[in-house]
Symmetry: C2
Subunit: 441 residues, 2 copies
């Protein structure tokens, strides 16, 4: 990679654009400003749109001579870095080791986005030399994807005209094993909320009150234990209603692109994973507990009966489920199963977006498959990704574009975890993909 | 209260003697030094005994002319102050309001201990004026009671001679409602351990892995939910074996001294408390979860599958249960119920001590009842306290003394909770009790 590109990449990574932390709004804004300057150099006309003290949304356009219009979506915000003590190098200090860059956001999505934009630059450089007609290119880069994109989703209806396009390119997903190209044919939706369980009016002495007072730590445990049965099946009434089952062809293709159980077990270090990996990840919803906190957690002991417990709950959704209904079902379930003497509340919530699946024989997918075959003789696989880019469903509707979601992540990147990284080979693929697909639109 | 006494009390409270926090060892040692100077002024010969980097144990003696020997036990360590944000005044800055002193340790046990020692001083002053023969008074004041007294329990067998006494006075418990005097006829034992549950090898992205990877936050919830049935009854095999049932007379007396359900509900702010309060608190064991921590707990969301969860577990024990066996039963239960794909470990443990009950018609109890009747025409009630002073069982055996446990706490003191306090009236009672019982031994 050229030194100039590497320096720019590192500048971008050092900005601590954690969208879920309100105290990092300044860093998020700086990141948007940085991107604005970067794409202005490539000839884009740029506006930063803000709403409700959210990180700015960058909307940009570069008019082309070719009648086609391409929309590029990406996000510049990153996950929080904690647990900090598990990072081997500082989380916002990019560090190169064995052909990889270690940093929060090295991949998701600052790294993939920056590689893709670098490829857009490569295309424009060549195109100007060759004098070929370029398509109109639009950019929509936001800073709240990791928090469910509330501001962009809110402003989206007003952006119909400015975002109207034929194809929407998204580089925020993983390739298949061994970096085999992958086209995402479906994404799960996501929504989340916080549950707060309150028992007594203060933390109590476990001797003076133990055996008679309700315990919020034990209460949250008993409450969350009701969400699934022993086999992990969801037990929430109404939650699974209306789910659209995948076709036999979708299941066959999804199985092809899903790592083996053996690889999966090795990757995550456990001997137990679900049956039917591809189906569980691509076509079935989840209710996950992302955190539980209650009472004492330090060294030694503190013999209290905790008064309060909180849990962070998120759901991955599949076509046929609406986020609103899914949240309501789980909340109702928790209210109905609230332990005696306690009170359940929901102080935070984000509706996110539903999941979607795309027809696998569309013209856009056929074109992408050809381009990817040129890049890699193995050709592309289709993936139904278990993850979510809630805003993609929204932008799909608003822009009228066909989503073309091709990313170059790998499991070893450890996105959302400590020691996130992105390999130079992957960076090169994302960059090449951007250039090639623009050459063929 | 005399200014001199109040100043001394505040000096003692300001020392942050949190024994469970190894970084506070210096403050604990300073507190022991402070007490050493304080009791030397009263004519005691003092030694500070240390073991294994634990806060020092203060052993002191003041020889008397009377053949009786009285041992006074107390502790100068306090509970951690967290959650800090719930304190209305700084936790280690004693603050007087409406006849009460607010501070961590204002009551438990620096406040009660200091009031008692002030009463010992009052007795010695009067006795020297009147020329009456005083008993030999021994002190055993330690700094690890809130952590299960490991150092003192370890050194106790070597202290048989130095602690030998006829009566052991302990001022570390509560009076009955409306400050009616109370003699503790039984204490529950206590022991605790930490459980750590590990699922995968790192926090995972809940989209990329949700539905197939085991979730430690959900796992700890499901695991802890197996400890009790829906009604709160303990479901751990072997845990309840061998428990000594109380006599009808003990139950009758315990009911007399236990607050009403109505008072209890008001005190702790919940509409649900156990049936048979007196029995549940005095004669039945518990398994409590003092804390659960796993995954994300901040603002917004972080859609991870947590790799690790910890829970702090403590048990209150009754006669017939050994701490070793109780811990082993619960650990075995947790191992047997460990969710698939996860690993359960126990990184910390403290055996503490078992519970005990004393015969209610002993000569010492009859004497105490007379003295307390002089102090309060309502006379004393007997209490079977749900709390624990593990070291008392050990000192009872080592010293050969009959425990006489009379304290002046009240529910409003909120010991172990934020905004702990102690009333001047209560302080005066503890002080008067010390003087009067010494006059009558």
């Amino acid at each position: 990679m050229e030194t100039k590109v590497l320096n720019r990449y590192f500048e971008l990574l050092k900005l601590e654009s954690v969208s879920s932390d309100p105290s990092k709004l300044k860093e998020c804004t700086q990141t948007a400003m940085w991107l604005k300057a970067f794409v202005e150099e490539m000839g884009f006309t740029v506006a930063l749109e803000t709403r409700d003290f959210a990180p700015p949304v960058l909307i940009a356009e570069r008019k082309g001579e070719n009648p086609a219009t391409v929309l590029v979506y990406g996000h510049y915000d990153v996950q929080p870095a904690d647990p900090l003590e598990e990072w081997k190098t500082p989380p916002f200090e990019p560090t190169v080791k064995d052909g990889r860059v270690y940093c929060r956001g090295a991949q998701d999505d600052k790294g993939q986005l920056f590689a893709f934009l670098t490829g857009v630059g490569d295309y424009l450089d060549r195109q100007s030399v060759k004098g070929l007609p370029a398509p109109t290119i639009k950019l929509c880069l936001e800073g709240q994807e990791e928090s469910g994109s509330p501001a962009l989703i809110k402003m989206a209806p007003d952006l119909r005209k400015r975002l109207a396009a034929d194809v929407m390119l998204v580089c925020d997903t993983a390739a298949a094993a061994d970096l085999r190209p992958s086209i995402v044919a479906g994404l799960r939706g996501v929504c989340h909320f916080t549950v707060k369980l309150t028992g007594v009016n203060r933390d109590l002495h476990s001797g003076e009150y133990g055996g008679v007072a309700p315990n919020a730590a034990l209460g949250i445990a008993r409450l969350l234990a009701t969400l699934h049965d022993e086999k992990g099946n969801i037990r929430v009434a109404g939650f699974m209603d209306g789910i659209e089952a995948p076709s036999a062809e979708e299941i066959r293709l999804a199985n092809e692109s899903t790592p083996s159980k053996e690889d999966f077990r090795k990757d995550i270090g456990t001997d137990t994973v679900a049956e039917n990996l591809a189906e569980a990840l691509g076509f079935r919803p989840t209710i996950e507990v992302n955190g539980i906190h209650s009472g004492y957690g330090g060294a030694g002991s503190k013999t209290v009966i905790p008064a309060v417990a909180i849990a962070k709950i998120s759901m991955r959704l599949v076509p046929g489920q609406s986020p609103r209904r899914a949240i309501d079902c789980v909340k109702r379930h928790l209210e109905e199963h609230c332990p005696a003497g306690m009170k359940v509340e929901f102080p935070e919530e984000a509706e996110g977006a539903g999941g979607f699946r795309l027809p696998i024989d569309s013209p856009v997918f056929r074109l992408a498959a050809e381009v990817l075959k040129e890049m890699d003789p193995r050709g592309a696989v289709f993936q139904w990704d278990g993850a979510s880019i809630p805003v993609v469903s929204v932008l799909k509707e608003v822009s009228g574009a066909s989503p073309l979601i091709v990313g170059w992540g790998q499991a070893e990147d450890r996105i959302h975890s400590p020691n996130e990284s992105y390999g130079f080979t992957q960076f090169g693929k994302a960059r090449e993909w951007a250039r090639r697909i623009l050459e063929n639109v």
